[in-house]
């Protein structure tokens, strides 16, 4: 079973995304900000990270940069999500594999996850 880390400061967003991914047969770890996300990465192998861009304490761009700089986590593909446009996100961090503009349909999420993990 593949494991996906979902990091988002919005509880509702985490619940919706995690439930949809679990329904698709994935194991989901969740965290409410970048700092918790980094902690979660230590709990076992993660195959994909779905990360929100704007979060308190450590934001999505900072989390992404830390992951890409880490010898163990640097190969984990990242799907970045944000309510702001991709060009704004790309200015801060461009090491992600796919981008999802919020709000998005669950089908778009699932399609993107399957494409990135293929």
């Amino acid at each position: 079973m593949q494991t996906i880390l979902v990091v988002d400061d919005e509880l509702g967003a985490i619940e919706v995304v995690a439930t949809a991914l679990e329904d698709e047969g994935f194991r989901v770890l969740s965290a409410a900000n970048g700092r918790h996300g980094l902690e979660k990465l230590t709990e076992g192998q993660v195959d994909l990270a779905v990360i929100d861009f704007m979060m308190p304490l450590v934001d999505g761009a900072a989390l992404g940069q830390e992951m890409k700089a880490h010898p163990v986590y640097k190969n984990i593909p990242i799907i970045m999500m944000s309510a702001v446009g991709e060009s704004v996100v790309r200015e801060r961090f461009d090491g992600y594999t796919a981008f999802l503009r919020k709000p998005f349909r669950i089908s778009a999420l699932i399609d993107t996850v399957r494409r990135v993990l293929a």
């Binding site: 509880l11 509702g12 704007m54 979060m55 308190p56 702001v84 919020k102 709000p103």
Partner: protein, 498 residues
């Protein structure tokens, strides 16, 4: 160390960037202050706070918007997107949105204060909005802990110079500890008046600054939030001294100027009272046809569109359209929808100031009265409004419609208002011999004599013309003129006192 005789530096202000709000706050929030913005759901707190953030970012500031509610800010941004102030390019560089709901759930107030402190520092924010204070209060183990949280937040805000807005629904106790601790409390309301509703703001407290007390209306449109400081508060004293002069202003009809012994006294207000169709607007168009570069004119009307007014004037031989083209006259039409009384007044005053209007024709008083949700305000409102118009040097004519087409005027429209007007002119229909005649009479003129006779007037292709005194009859004010009994008996009629 500050010496005892050194002046204490005044507290710097943070502009709200919102039209009218800084006027109410006498310049804006005080930097580093903590303010509660409260109101029931739908009162406008979120839109207002977001617009303040976007305006702040547009002016080079940095803001952080932190929600403690379970709702998603993705949705919030979607709702804000159609509004004129929304500018995605400032997110996240100058305006940062995060949710601290999870942190509050997991780590309580201690975790929350840590996030707020880090966001102020990390985002270099000089404006912080915390949406959902009630969630923080509910998660507090005791009132004492909640007070401690507010106190710590104040300390961080003060040392960092970050102004904090705490948004909360009206669920907090009316007077609670946080109200006494914070620097200001602003209450937003959305009140229902029969079928219509009106939004308003009351500043309950604003430490370290004067402010306009009482209730102030505001409106939310796609353009954003716009406040209309209550006329009685903002114009309690006229913005400039009233300049008295003996100058008379022509109304544009020679016969009426003669009745007024030269015209209307400059910078006074005149009530033009009469029924529908008598010629009030026609007289106003004459008044405006005399506008010039030196005496700019303004028609502030509720009933007829500018195009119709220009056509009407042309049929009367008056070149109001050309005066509009030359910039001597402006026609401002206020469609009769659910207008806000103070909004109308500010629009009027702004238009008068913008063009230094000297000839103002307001058609008519009814448009203002229908917008008043509190009738008890009307007299005081008009007193302050007309004082300001006088101070601005505008000679103003208000039309005031009476319900009776003919017959005695049973009720002067809004008698409290007519008492405030220096000059009163009546227009009326009078039947004589199965013909409806138009009559004009001057009832009072400030510091001036006038012709007291009732005179007939006519509306022709060449405009309004005044005829002779309506003499030799009686019962004119009943609406039906008749020969005096003495004349019927063969006695010559009395000579009228003109």
């Amino acid at each position: 160390m500050t010496k005892p005789d050194e002046p204490v530096p005044s507290l710097a202000r943070l502009s709200s960037g919102i039209s009218g709000l800084d006027d109410i706050l006498r310049g804006g929030f005080l930097e580093g202050g903590v303010y509660i913005l409260q109101g029931s759901p739908g009162a406008g707190k979120t839109v207002l706070a977001n617009e303040i953030c976007f305006r702040h970012a547009a002016n080079g500031g940095r803001a952080a918007y932190i929600t403690l509610l379970a709702e998603m800010h993705t949705r919030l941004l979607q709702h804000l997107r159609p509004m004129a102030f929304f500018d995605e390019s400032v997110i996240p560089k100058s305006l940062y949105y995060v949710s601290a709901f999870n942190i509050l759930e997991g780590d309580g107030l201690k975790g929350l204060i840590d996030v707020l402190r880090r966001e102020i520092k990390g985002q270099k924010a000089d404006l912080l909005v915390v949406d959902g204070l009630v969630a923080a209060q509910e998660s507090a183990p005791s009132d004492r802990e909640f007070k401690k949280f507010i106190n710590e937040l104040q300390a961080h805000a003060s040392v960092s110079g970050c102004t904090v807005l705490l948004l909360t629904s009206g669920l907090l106790r009316h007077v609670s500890a946080e109200h006494t601790m914070v620097d200001g409390v602003f209450e937003l309301e959305d009140q229902l008046f029969e079928f219509r509703s009106e939004r308003s703001l009351i500043v309950r407290k604003f430490r370290g600054s004067g402010f306009l007390r009482g209730r102030h209306s505001f409106r939310i449109t796609d353009e954003g939030v716009k406040f209309f400081p209550r006329v009685e508060a903002v114009f309690a004293s006229a913005s400039q001294a009233d300049v008295l002069s003996d100058v008379k202003i022509s109304v544009g009809v020679a016969g009426i100027d003669k009745m007024l012994l030269g015209g209307l006294p400059a910078a006074t207000t005149t009530g033009l009272i009469g029924p529908s169709g008598i010629g009030k607007t026609t007289l106003g168009l004459h008044f405006l046809s005399q506008a010039s570069a030196e005496e700019p004119g303004l028609l502030f009307g509720f009933f007829e569109t500018p195009a119709r007014l220009c056509l009407k004037a042309r049929h009367l031989g008056l070149e109001v359209g050309k005066a509009v083209d030359r910039g001597h006259v402006e026609l401002l039409w206020q469609p009769q929808r659910e207008n806000v009384l103070d909004e109308l007044a500010h629009r009027l005053i702004d238009a008068v100031r913008r063009r230094k209007v000297k000839r103002l024709f307001i058609d008519g008083l009814g448009g203002f009265l229908e917008s008043a949700t509190s009738p008890q305000r009307v007299s005081r409102f008009f007193s302050c409004l007309t004082n300001e118009l006088r101070a601005l040097g505008a000679t103003t004519i208000f039309t005031m419609e009476v319900p009776e087409i003919t017959g005695p005027v049973s009720r002067v429209p809004s008698s409290g208002v007519s008492a405030l007007l220096e000059n009163l002119v009546f227009l009326r229909f009078v039947e004589r011999g199965s013909i409806l005649n138009r009559l004009i009479s001057v009832h009072k003129v400030r510091d001036s004599g006038h012709d007291p006779s009732l005179r007939e007037f006519y509306i022709t292709d060449h405009g309004l013309q005044v005829g002779e005194a309506f003499a030799g009859v009686e019962g004119v004010t009943t609406g039906v003129a008749r020969e005096p009994a003495s004349a019927a008996a063969g006695t010559p009629p009395a000579v009228p006192n003109t």
